[in-house]
Every structure is written in structure tokens, then in C-alpha cells.
Subunit: 427 residues, 2 copies
Amino acid sequence: MTAIDLQAYMAHVGAAARAAATAMAAAPTAAKNDCLLRLAALIRAERETLQAANAKDVAGAREERGLPAPMVDRLRITDKVVEQMAENCLQVAALPDPVGEMTNLRRRPTGIVVGQMRVPIGVFGMIYESRPNVTIEASSLGIKSGNACILRGGSEALHSNLALWKLVQRALVESGLPATAVQLIETTDREAVGRLIAMPEYVDVIIPRGGKSLIERISREARVPVIKHLDGNCHVYVDAEVDLDLAVKVTDNAKTQKYSPCNAAESLLVHEKSAPQFLPRIGAILAAKGVEMRCDRHAKALLADVPGARLVDAVESDWSEEYLAAVISIKVVASLDEAIAHINRYGSHHTDAILTTNHPNAMRFLREVDSASVMVNASTRFADGFEYGLGAEIGISTDKFHARGPVGLEGLTSMKWVVLGQGEVRT
Amino acid sequence: MTAIDLQAYMAHVGAAARAAATAMAAAPTAAKNDCLLRLAALIRAERETLQAANAKDVAGAREERGLPAPMVDRLRITDKVVEQMAENCLQVAALPDPVGEMTNLRRRPTGIVVGQMRVPIGVFGMIYESRPNVTIEASSLGIKSGNACILRGGSEALHSNLALWKLVQRALVESGLPATAVQLIETTDREAVGRLIAMPEYVDVIIPRGGKSLIERISREARVPVIKHLDGNCHVYVDAEVDLDLAVKVTDNAKTQKYSPCNAAESLLVHEKSAPQFLPRIGAILAAKGVEMRCDRHAKALLADVPGARLVDAVESDWSEEYLAAVISIKVVASLDEAIAHINRYGSHHTDAILTTNHPNAMRFLREVDSASVMVNASTRFADGFEYGLGAEIGISTDKFHARGPVGLEGLTSMKWVVLGQGEVRT
């Protein structure tokens, strides 16, 4: 596509989305739910069509692009993925409609009643890689929240995404909703992303999912707000007063239940009072699971006698690193203050937990650690839209503006002011 | 200042603000209120010092800068302004502390309790012109909300702002809070603004107050979120079914109570069914008050017999214009749909009102008009932080992200997730 053609195409897509957003904002809950139920049924009924399209992407990824096996696997629309996508639509249909909710209505001394109403943001752009099921996740949350959305998937998944999108459009039209409420960018031209993130007249917010370099580029160049997280350098801090059994169980879970999620623990801070008892116990478990421990001097000394422990001297960069692997950094601290300062300095403002029996320390940690999720006596692995009861998650934000932490339907809405009067005037 | 010196100076200010923000986030409510009460007392006690500094600015504005009289007047710290600034501090001290509020705590099936906690944003930058009392408004809201702030006032008010800031610093220190919780940029170098809006490592949000060109420049160049509004093209829509007396009273108030505020009405839309009765009545009032009426053909015909009416044919640009003067655009519409579409197309997403006795129409207007404030049977002039019960207002936002409409203490805070567990792990 020439630059001029691309510009015209993207403006056309944007204008259609803006128009659809107006209709979607006023769409009845029943029509939106009907659309999601139809979409679930279509996904199940058209399984073979979807898998035929997907086979082209899988073949291309393996043969032409030569992608590594784990990446090819993430592309696959297996029977299980088909069922997950259908279930996703049913779950979102079952969630309460956030649009139109009115809260905090209060009568003012002048007689007017002032409150707030939840309304859709308008148009969001979703930029993602690999997994084609994100097409359905974003479409279902967009439809339920009354927004229009523009999807830009990875070029390696184009056939799969196009096939899924056709089903979304059928469901929209059959429910009386505009087909353009969900649009997929049909060109693989890389410049399309550059346009999508720089059309504030058509797109209100961008939600990227993918590698760090993609998200960094989008954040830097976007001319609209971006809901994103870059890193998940999550901490577990074991306080001076602590239930040691609880601390061992929770730390183990936060680090080893899965290594790849962004809410897995990457750094362990231990108060010097509990370190002599705690570190050898957790060290034995981590050693048995083959987790490499990057230690400060104090921690290393306390772990020295653990059989089979893989101990490495931590360097400065270890305190900031998100390993997403069987590696953890470990540091002994002299106080809660030191722990909080360390987390606020080296952390990624994602999720951090204190394990303690001391109430004032728990409350200080909750208040002073500047992260999207702060926890007391629970595994960082709970930082997730489903676990928090949001029903579904479109992304995670480590920024402080608008949505913070796991972002569900509410993060795709905005609160406007409503004033209900009976002819009041200002004097 | 050389470019390198300026860069170093701004980085120094930014780093000090970031450090102060950590202390302010943990500051006790009592210390913050004590600071505000001390500041009120200092402002009253140091009236003469403030007015002596202010006299230099006023003389400079008149003699050296040759500013027009209304602009010079806005600079003046009269006895009344001194009392208003002291009162402002007392009012903010009396507001509830938003920091630490925990809401929506719910137990999940896993056993963890999940909720949200309100915390300060961190550091905000306030960029403003003329009125030195904004120094006190921004400082008081910043202190109460537990943020650090960096103030950049107009160069024409520098002596006044410096004198006020010294009092703020004294109050901070005497209450045991960091003096750097409020910093004023002491150089009049215009490049300082360019740096302030492009230091995401130190500044979390920018709040500009001033002329449209300043705000446009800041929005375009800022590398952090901006809380702003550009225009207030507010509409009153008089529906087909309406209490005519109410409609006349409210429309008159919305347009003529004051011409200069951003929440004054600039455009009047009237349903064709009520127009023959309504327009001559409101036209007579507007004519008597000397308000020029820029009409479409239909409205002009209905207003033709109003004695003394200044009728002008509206052109396309009239539908978008914010007059801030004794001028109003008037259009007859055929339906509620046309009114909503017109407002969403030509409006500024600030404040719009419907006057109607029809409930479904009122609810559709509230839901479908895409503005920060939407009203039924009330004057647009009510769109204001004090009228809404926020206690004080740091600005108004016509964006949909984060704060929308009048922004008070809550707009300077963020909601993070808190998880309270008893050793739960994810399975």
C-alpha cells in the first residue's frame, strides 16, 4: 500500500469506528448480550472453518517465517482454544452491563442533584501479537462496554484473525448492531500501527499487548493515552514478625507456581530478624525446584548450607530485572523502610506483597508501596482480572492515570457528571 | 540561563519533587491540615508583605509591559483577594482527606479480600497565567491530596508568586512537612515550561490554566498526561415537551448570568414544536439585555417580530464558537436526535443541558450527549467544583481519561488495588 492509500484507509476505518461508537454507546444491553451469545455459537459451529484458516497461518509460521516451536504453538486454534473463546463470550455476556450506571447522586444546597454516570470511552485500538484468541477477547469486551474497537493483530495470525473477525461481524449484524463496531486492520503494512496510534480524532485509547520493544515504541509515539505495562518485577517482602510457614508457602507460590506470568515474583526481600530462620527453609524449596538465587552477601551467607542451592552474587541490575524464569533475586534488609524504598526504586509498580503479622507494618506497606497492586499475606500471582472479580481482563496498567492494575470492562468506560434539576438557576 | 543550566535546574527541581512526593503520600492528615491552617494565618499576617511584592508586579505590568487594564486588575492582590486566599486554605483544610480511603472490599472465592485504595498521583505541574491566587489554590489542593507540586506562574506575577510561595514553604516546614512539597520555578525562562512538561521521570501530570494557545501547545508537546479543557461551547436544548416558564428562566440564566465563564451557554437549540412559543419569549429577554442572536433561517423568522432584537444570520463557524460575550447562536431542530447529533458534532464536550418534561428524552440526552457534564432542567452555569460539592477545583477536564469535568482533590489521586490475605496461594 502506498503511504497515501494507507492514510486514506486508516482514516476510513477511524471514521467508521467513530460513527459506530455513537450507536454502540446507545445500544441496549439485550442486543449486546444477544450478540455475544450468537458469537459463542458461531465460534463453535464454525470450528472447522476457523481451523482451516488457522492451518495457513501455522504453515506459514513454520515454513516461511521459520518461527520457533513455542511461538507456532501460541498461534494454534486447537479444539480447546475454540472452546475457550466461546466460553469467553458467554462469560462476558453474563457480566453486568457497566454502561449507564449512575452513582453518588446527592442533592446540593441549591436543589440540583449531582452524580456520575458511567459511559463508554468511545473507540479503542488493540494492538497484539500471536494468539488469535485476543481477537475474541477484545471484541467481546468492546461490545459489552459499548465501545467501538479497531484490532491490529500480528501478521503471522492474519488468516486466523480474519476468520474470527468475520464471525464477530456476523454476530453484530444479526443482533442489530453496526458491523463496524469491531474492525480488523486488513493490511499487514507496518505503518498501519503508526497511523492507528496517532489519530486522536478517531481513537481514544490504545491497548498494546506484546513484547517490551513494541510497547515502548507505542508509548513513545502514541498521540492518545495508552493502557500498558512494561515489566512485572514483583517483590515479596518477608517482615520481621511473620508466620514462617505462611511465608514459605506464599513465597514458593509467588515464585514457582508459574515462571512466565508478569505477576510472578522476581525479587525476595527478607528482614534481617527473620532471615536466619526463613532463608534456609525457602532456599531448600527453591534449590529442589532448580531456581537460581541471585543473592546479596548477607543472604548468600545464610543460604550457604542449603544442599544443591544455585547461589550467584547479585549485581545492581538484578534488582530491576524481570526474569520470567527459574531465577530470583534475594536481599536481606534492615527495616520496613528499607524494603519500601527498595521496591519503589527498583520495582515496576506492578504487584508487591508483604508477609507479616504486624498490623501497622501491613498498613504502611499497602499505603506507601507505589504499585498497581499491593498485597498482605497473599501470593503476587493473584494480580489478575479474573482473580479480582472483574470477570475478564483486557490488559494490565502500571500507570497511575485512569485504569490501574488489571483492566476489565470498567477500564473501558469513563464517568461523566449528571445534574438533575427542576429549573434551578445559578445566582 | 543557558540550556544546560536550565536542564540541570529543572532536573534538580523534579528530583526534589519526587522525593517530597514519597513523604507527602505518607503524611498524616493532621500535619497536612495544620499546614493549611498555618498558611491561612500567614497569608493574613503577611498581607502587607504580599501587597508590597504585588505592587512591583502591578507597576511592571502597567509601565514596562503595558498590559491592558483588565489584565493588570487580575494581577492585583487586594485585601479581598488576601481574604479569599486565606479562606481557600481553611476550606481545603475542612475537606475530608481523600488519601487512604479503601473501597469495594470484597471477599473472593479463593479467600482473599480485594478492594481499592485511594493514593496521591505523585507530582503534578501547574502552569498558569496572571492571577497569583492560583499559587495558593494549587498549593492547598496539592498539600491536602498528599502530592508534591511544581508551580510555574506567569512572569508578570513573579514577585507576587515568590512572596506567596515563601509563606507556603514556611507553613510546610512549621508543620513538619518537606519544604519541597511545593516548588515554584524561579526563572522566567520560557523553555522551563518545555522541560516541565517533558520529564515523565519526575512529573506525573500537568494542569495548565490560561489561554487556548498555551493549552494547545502544552497538550501537543507534553510527554505526560494533561488535565485540561480548551473550549466551553455549552448548549441548551429546549425539547418539544417543556415547561416554558422554566425554559425561559434557565436559558436566560445559562446565557446571561455571566458571559465570561466557560460554563456559560453559547448555543441554543430549540425543537420546532416549542420554538413558536419559546423563541419570542427568550428573544425579548435577550434583546433587552443586548445579546446578539446568530440564527438559522427558521429561528430568525420566529424572532423577526421581537422589538430591538439584534438578529444575525448564523454561518457554519457559529455552531462551534465559544463567544464568552453577549452573543448566542440559535438553531431550530426537528428532533431530539438532531439536537444530540448537533451537540456531539459542534460542541466541546464541556457542559450541555436539556430542558424537557419528557422522561425518556431526558434519559437519552444524559446518556448520549458525550460531554463532561450533562444536565436536565438546570443551568449550565452549575458546572463547577464548588457547585458539585467537590469543595475546591484545580481545573476542568473535557477529556474522557482519568478526571472528567470539574477536578477536585479526587482528580489528584489514583485508585490502586489492595489484596488482604491470610496466606492464600494461587492453584
